[in-house]
């Protein structure tokens, strides 16, 4: 009901409209920053993506012919992206006009989340989108078609623009209550929900659809008031017209110990992908533990207060700048020992770690880094050292990564006791998620002997054209890599076993099947199940995927899943002299095992010894892959060894139901 005594500029509608304007201002500023640093083809893709989701037309990527149609973004024709797409010449005018009126759009909100439009944006920045739907409007088939459509767009982006795109489909009701379950599947969400939403509100870019109502509510509301306020607003008839374009994606409130504990562990798991980013984010999370005034407000709320004042090249309203300030302050006051490392991490983050290079002159990023160099008094030799990071030897790079991860492990130790105490009282579903997270952390920090180690993050991210494997006079296997087509190979890893190198390549995904060539320089040949020699690609392929594709496997203890057995016969007259085993467990950990054999013993004895070693790997459903490294292949070896193996390794172990279906040539 309208109160006539309140001046028009002070009505609720006027206040909300002002807030909406402030958010629009901020979003425009961020969008301009994003567009400014995108290359022309990536910019065109960025503009096209919402359009491709909105329509379903055979002429465009993302087309799914099967009914029911699953496309359309709410209010897309009123978005800036619709206007921008009209300027792309290759899209016929008639399609833009006639095919864009979608009666029942299946997407309520479409947002970009992450570094685009911030100081940390780089050429490697992924396009990560949140796709908000109303699950009640979907049948299983319609949801399947939506997933398929988005997958087509991901493929199109990767193949045509070399751009990684990820879509996270979420139900509006679920996200409101911080539930990130898949469609008709139990939730296996181990990400810290609170910080995920905080990051979303802090970094999201409005692309099209409904605006999150959080943007127009006051910052730092008292605990427990958000839901009541939103409910109240949506009940006001005079606000109906204004709020029809808004969506409630739920509150974000101050983190508890449980949230902080979960957040730290989550970033330990993410540290393999980018230890610098993980350390900064984890430090931000840990800063909340102090409960001091400086860290009493969530960063997204701090940013919201700056929406109205945001301007181009403005450091203070950058989502990452405020994070840097927060972690620096935390370290200055509470963790002085880690200050130097955190400064290094910020420096490297701004210099696009791991491809470290100074930001473009005159850019806001460069201005910020210059400011840090002055205020932190970083001396030129130190800057030079950091800037030469891409030329550091591989072991040096590994050492930096290890130091960053150890710091993360230290944070985990700091909060472990408090966190564990709280975990006991969680509901069963949450306890399951925590178990998954705990096991993932265990796998990340596991350095037990025999485990194949990690390479540097720098090397992992490179598309290597050539990997050279040689054996030196000391009998060690050497892996050299050419970092580009123009650079000579340099040694990146050594191992006493050939499988030690192959395992390292697999663990760190250094081999991309269509981009990398592995050259094996040895007089012996590799054999699989035929008399013709095979390439190292065959070895690589049978172990894929090394890393788990879904988190569910971490719910149970690690179990062996695959063993690659290499029979080495250096002299054809003596038979197998050595066995190298590369064992993979369900957590994606690779282990190397070796067995030297007495060539004076009869072959049958040696086969038995090999089988005995394989039999030591406990568990059901372990798949074995035999290879030989020899001058000529021993055609009977596999048969003879399998004679000595336990039933669990057989094709049809006891209890296998009679098979009527065809053989599955499972990878």
């Amino acid at each position: 009901m309208h109160n006539s005594s309140v001046p028009p500029e002070n009505t609720l509608a006027a206040k909300l409209t002002r807030m909406k304007t402030a958010f629009s201002n901020y979003n425009v500023v961020r969008m301009r920053e994003a567009l400014r640093y995108l290359s022309a083809p990536k910019l065109e893709l960025f503009i096209k993506i919402p359009f491709l989701i909105h329509i379903n037309h055979p002429q465009f990527p993302g087309y799914v012919p099967e009914p029911p149609v699953a496309c359309g973004i709410y209010n897309f024709k009123n978005s800036g992206f619709y206007k921008a797409v009209r300027d792309i010449e290759e899209i016929p005018w008639n399609i833009i006009e006639t095919e864009t009126d979608i009666k029942d759009p299946c997407i309520l909100g479409f947002y970009h989340i992450g570094s685009l439009g911030t100081f940390t944006q780089s050429a490697q920045s992924d396009f990560d989108y949140w796709v908000i739907i109303d699950r009640t409007c979907f049948t299983e088939q319609r949801y399947y078609n939506l997933e398929k459509k988005l997958n087509h767009i991901v493929k199109f982006s990767r193949e045509n623009c070399d751009q990684e795109v990820t879509f996270f489909i979420m139900d509006q009701a679920d996200i409101r209550k911080d539930c990130y379950a898949g469609f008709e599947a139990p939730e296996t969400m181990i990400a810290p929900k609170l910080f995920l939403k905080e990051e979303f509100y802090r970094t999201f870019l409005m692309i099209a659809g409904k605006i999150p109502i959080w943007t127009i509510l006051p910052a730092n509301m008292p605990q427990g008031t958000y839901d009541r306020l939103v409910e109240h607003l949506f009940r006001q008839p005079e606000l109906a017209f204004l709020l029809k374009d808004f969506i409630d994606l739920g509150k974000v409130e101050m983190p508890s110990i449980k949230d902080i504990y979960q957040g730290i562990r989550w970033h330990i798991c993410k540290s393999k992908e980018d230890p610098v980013k993980a350390l900064l984010k984890a430090s931000m999370i840990l800063s909340h533990i102090t409960g001091e005034k400086d860290s009493a407000m969530l960063l997204c709320d701090e940013l919201k207060q700056k929406f109205a004042k945001a301007g181009i090249d403005d450091c203070d309203s950058d989502p990452y700048k405020i994070m840097f300030d927060r972690v620096l302050n935390y370290h200055k006051v509470h963790a002085h020992d880690g200050l130097k490392l955190i400064k290094t991490a910020i420096f490297l983050r701004l210099c696009s770690y791991p491809e470290v290079k100074l930001p473009e002159p005159g850019s806001p990023k460069k201005q910020l880094i210059d400011k840090y160099i002055r205020t932190w008094n970083i001396l030129p030799p130190h800057i030079k050292k950091l800037m030469s990071y891409p030329n550091w030897p591989e072991v040096g790079k590994q050492l930096l990564d290890t130091t960053l991860i150890q710091r993360l492990a230290g944070m985990y130790e700091q909060i472990n006791a408090k966190g564990k105490a709280i975990e006991k009282d969680l509901p069963p579903a949450e306890q399951r998620n925590m178990k998954i997270l705990n096991n993932k952390v265990k796998a990340c920090l596991n350095t037990e002997s025999g485990k194949i180690s990690a390479s540097s993050n720098f090397l992992t991210r490179r598309a290597l054209p050539l990997l050279l494997i040689t054996k030196n006079s000391m009998g060690n296997w050497i892996l050299s890599a050419a970092l580009s087509n123009t650079v000579h190979e340099s040694v990146v890893h050594k191992s006493k076993a050939f499988m030690g190198l192959m395992g390292w390549i697999m663990e760190n995904r250094l081999y991309r099947r269509n981009k990398t060539h592995i050259k094996l320089e040895t007089r012996l040949k590799l054999y699989e199940s035929r008399d013709q020699a095979v390439s190292t690609d065959a070895l690589y392929l049978v172990m894929q995927p090394v890393k788990p594709l879904f988190d569910g496997c971490f719910e149970d203890n690690a179990r062996w899943t695959k063993i690659l057995i290499l029979l080495v016969c250096p002299d054809s007259s003596c038979g197998v002299a050595q066995v190298e085993l590369l064992a993979l467990n369900s957590w994606g950990e690779l282990f190397l095992d070796q067995l030297r054999l007495d060539t004076n013993r009869p072959l049958n004895d040696r086969y038995k010894k090999i089988a005995d070693r394989i039999n030591q790997y406990a568990g059901e459903e372990i798949r074995l892959f035999f290879f030989q490294m020899a001058e000529t292949r021993d055609a009977n070896a596999v048969y003879e060894i399998k004679q000595f193996l336990g039933d669990r390794f057989l094709m049809y172990p006891p209890g296998t139901p009679e098979r009527n279906r065809p053989m599955l040539d499972k990878l």
């Binding site: 035929r530 392929l541 995927p545 003596c574 004076n600 399998k642 065809p662």
Partner: protein, 336 residues
């Protein structure tokens, strides 16, 4: 575990030393020496020897004569026996062969040849009990050949009662087949395969019995299992023969075409594999596994795009096809 003892017999001290050095060099340390065939014979009677190396010519009893004596002894008849000489003539070689020599060594000794032949010979050593049982089995087989099934069956039943060995059950199955007692034959062969799951011969025999019974589907199932065992143990040639045999018998089975597709993929023959999968699809155009297998074939060929298309068809046909879902995700993540 130490290797079995080796007995070396020669009159020449120098040769004896050289042989000892050569054997030690290749890792054989349990050696008994004898300076004459007589002493050697005494050692053989009293000690547990695994192998003999004797000089061809010796003044008293020659190495060749000792070999002939030894071959007549039941306990020692199978023992590896090598003769050594600095100048083997053609006639010496023939005589040694007729006497049942395990191998000849030319003096001076070649360590490589010594190592290889001894490794093979010592690998063939049998426990005396096993030897005894083998003689019984041999006798049983001879009875089968003479079609004296009743006696043979009795013998194998006795062996089975002593020790459940897949070979015995196989022979019982064989006898029952010959006696047209098909159900009992199948039972015996099944027992054999339960004891040794890689026992291809038993599956093949079972297929023959089912053929005699007119159970075509069972014939195919048994033959296919036999072929898959061969595939699983990397004996692709034998697997291919078996499956082609099935095809020659006029089968039009989806499973046979599919298994052949997998086999040719393993052999690296992508074209032939595809031909077989296409035949399988003609029989059953909606079988998701075939589409998955074609996808797998394209992975070997490093054509990830085509591979994904086929995995996707497999998933479209069965939305719950976990393996297809996983491989598509792995492709999307750039793992393969």
């Amino acid at each position: 575990m130490p290797h079995p003892k080796i007995l070396t017999i020669t009159e020449e001290t120098l040769e004896q030393d050289r042989l000892l050095t050569a054997l030690k060099k290749i890792g054989y340390t349990h050696i008994i020496t004898a300076d004459s065939a007589n002493t050697g014979w005494a050692v053989l009677k009293t000690s547990d020897v695994g192998c003999v190396i004797a000089a061809y010519d010796m003044s008293d009893i020659s190495g060749l004569a000792l070999l002939k004596i030894l071959r007549k002894e039941e306990r020692l008849g199978n023992m590896p026996f090598f003769l050594a000489d600095s100048a083997f003539t053609k006639i010496k070689v023939i005589k040694a062969g007729q006497a049942g020599v395990s191998g000849l060594f030319v003096i001076p000794y070649d360590p490589k040849a010594l190592k290889m032949r001894l490794a093979v010979a010592l690998g063939k050593l049998k426990d005396p009990v096993i030897h005894q049982v083998e003689l019984s089995v041999k006798k049983g087989l001879e009875l089968i050949e003479k079609k004296e099934y009743k006696k043979a069956l009795g013998l194998f039943q006795t062996l089975v009662n002593q020790n459940a060995n897949p070979e015995y059950y196989y022979n019982i199955g064989y006898i029952k087949t010959a006696q047209n007692k098909y159900y009992e034959a199948i039972e015996a062969f099944s027992k054999a395969t339960r004891l040794d799951r890689l026992f291809v011969k038993a599956y093949k025999a079972m297929a023959m019995v089912y053929r005699a019974m007119g159970a075509v589907e069972k014939v195919e199932a048994c033959t296919r299992i036999a072929a898959e065992i061969y595939m699983d143990t990397d004996k692709l040639g034998k697997a291919e023969d078996m499956l082609n045999e099935l095809l020659a018998s006029g089968t039009n089975s989806l499973n046979v075409f599919n298994t052949l597709g997998v086999l040719y993929r393993k052999k690296g023959d992508i074209k032939e594999a595809m031909k077989q999968y296409k035949k399988a699809l003609k029989v059953h155009p909606d079988e998701p596994y075939i589409y998955y297998n074609i996808g797998r074939l394209y992975l070997d060929a490093k054509d990830t795009t085509k591979a994904k298309t086929y995995f996707q068809v497999a998933l479209d046909k069965d939305h719950g096809f976990i393996e297809a879902k996983q491989v598509i995700k792995a492709i999307d993540l750039g793992m393969i």
